[in-house]
Symmetry: C2
Subunit: 345 residues, 2 copies
């Protein structure tokens, strides 16, 4: 078995990092203050259930504490879902291509992963999901496509299946829509959120799950006792207490996403309509893998997937406008240089 | 299934907390500096393998990076061990009574937990461990007894078994001995360490595993991609860079442990010889559970276990000398008060 391979995290700082969908802007200054204050209590264990943070999340979404569970990033919550709802051999489903961790977690658990292909335009036929599925994972917006499925479609999937529907909304703050409405009608719906992207806290590790109280109770049984650190609880509370800061950054990123999309389209790429803080660009006039490699040599990191349907694509995080401009210029050079060589033949 | 129930973590700060083996002294001031500096990079994901921290750990123990894996506390590493080495129905063994999380993790995994009782003096007959064991967990020093098994005995257990021997050395810095020597001869030995106790970082979540490179590689496959936060990596590095600070605190705690032991013995308790930052006291002249409850009413928390062999015992963390003095005085009052009432009958 192969473990999940995350995007490169080079030690040096001179890279333009457009490969792991980090936020190019810092978190609210309140996070810094809160973490510094919390260090005074760092010799003590954190609250095992992070109840103050649960309460803040609940308040934001108009839910109760019992509908919220906090994780060491949303990956931690994905692991809890897997360990709670899938035994060895159980069918676990995702539309594909998607976040490959779902597959990896299935392999670890010995569950039976079934990837059901998105259509070419990343729409999805929910009726292909087998009713016996124990878990259906849907990244929505999806990674690496950046595209969004409709709540109605997901609601029908939740109704079809015997198990739980996990809607992984890691990128939802960059989207026009969310699926919180599912929680009202579907007891088997689990919504996952993370503070890594829109709240600029990838390094702190805070995510949360929203679901029916019975589901949350089951998940809590398999979580590590002290899964969320004092720094993460304090920093998470501070970030969620300054939603305006996040919204302002998200607006800026959405505007930059538009400029990145135009730039890539001018280079002849097809850009899938993105509802997230990255875009998936299909490149037909030059091998995507070579662009990835040459960008890396020029100190720009983007994400290339050597798997079916994605070999002609790059996933590019939305950085600052300056970073995007630099990326587009370098890509133009790479593609243009090849065109010249080609024409000399 | 019941989840693991950790010690109480009350929200108020006016308790004397002698129930979860936290360090009464703060961590090295270098931790604070390092965490504050790291907040500047908190928008970026941490290094998935925490390699700088691995290198520091490796250097301290005279090992290679490949022999080290870092976890979100050592509980995270226990979970990785369980998910790597035990499938459903596999036999997993511990001497008991011990850290109850081993049993809980088995239930979550569907493995078959076999607790083999320590002798009354907390020595252990290693030949009772079945050879087919996939994992043997030994807390050493043990919790809640505080007692130590010999490296020779554990070495023989490692030789006997088909699976891995996990020596959980959470409390080892308060002990005269450790089992690092096992790593030289036993490829199936895994040593776990935590920075929660001796390094005063319970709230930060840093632990590590030491083992053969092949074992570490397998464990790394099941870990969450970004299991250790930037704050934990930076704070952990700083703490391990100031070993003298930890040693000084450990010396103070060992001296206080002696005073606590004398105090409890004067009250008529039997105190098991402790090699950790807590003591297990057997109380024959008063119901232990009532002492626990009455201490709680007096704002002192200690640990009471309502399970066989421990119902006449309290586990008491070694606090400051002032805290210990207060505990002994209150216990004397509680026990004395009852004696008086009894004599009036």
């Amino acid at each position: 078995m192969q473990g999940y391979v995350p995007g490169e995290q080079p030690a040096g700082t001179d890279y333009i990092k457009l490969n792991t969908n980090e936020n190019p802007y810092p978190p609210s200054p309140k996070v810094r203050e809160a973490v510094i204050e919390e260090i005074e209590r760092i010799r003590l264990y954190p609250d095992p259930m992070a109840n103050r943070l649960r309460d803040r999340v609940a308040e934001i979404h108009g839910l109760a504490r019992e509908n919220v569970l906090v994780g060491n990033g949303s990956d931690d919550l994905l692991t809890m879902v897997m360990r709670t709802f899938a035994d060895q051999g159980d069918p676990v489903v995702s539309p594909t291509p998607t976040y490959t961790l779902y597959h990896t977690l299935c392999e670890i658990q010995g569950a039976n992963y079934l990837g059901i292909p998105y259509r070419d335009d990343y729409s999805f036929n929910g009726e292909l999901v087998p009713a016996k599925a124990k878990i259906v994972f849907v990244a929505n917006p999806n990674s690496p496509s950046g595209t969004l499925l409709d709540e109605d479609l997901l609601s029908r999937v939740a109704t079809r299946i015997a198990g739980v529907l996990v809607v992984d909304e890691a990128y939802v703050d960059f989207s026009r829509k969310n699926c919180l409405g599912l929680l009202k009608s579907k007891k088997n719906a689990i919504i996952l959120r993370t503070l890594s992207k829109s709240f600029s806290l990838a390094g702190l590790r805070v995510g949360y799950a929203l679901a029916d109280a019975g589901v949350i109770e089951q998940l809590a049984k398999v979580k590590d006792s002290y899964n969320v650190s004092r720094c993460a609880i304090a920093g998470g509370m501070a970030a969620l207490g300054d939603i305006d800061w996040m919204r302002e950054n998200a607006r800026t990123i959405i505007a930059s996403r538009r400029r990145l999309t135009w730039g890539l389209e001018e280079l002849g790429c097809f850009v899938f309509p993105s509802e997230s803080n990255f875009v998936l660009a299909r490149i037909t006039n030059y091998p995507a893998e070579q662009i990835y490699r040459q960008l890396k040599r020029r100190n720009i990191l983007v994400r290339y997937y050597d798997i079916p349907r994605l070999r002609d694509c790059l996933r590019i995080s939305v950085g600052t406008d300056a970073e995007i401009k630099r990326l587009v210029i370098e890509m133009a050079e790479i593609i243009g240089w090849r065109t010249k060589v080609g024409s000399q033949k």
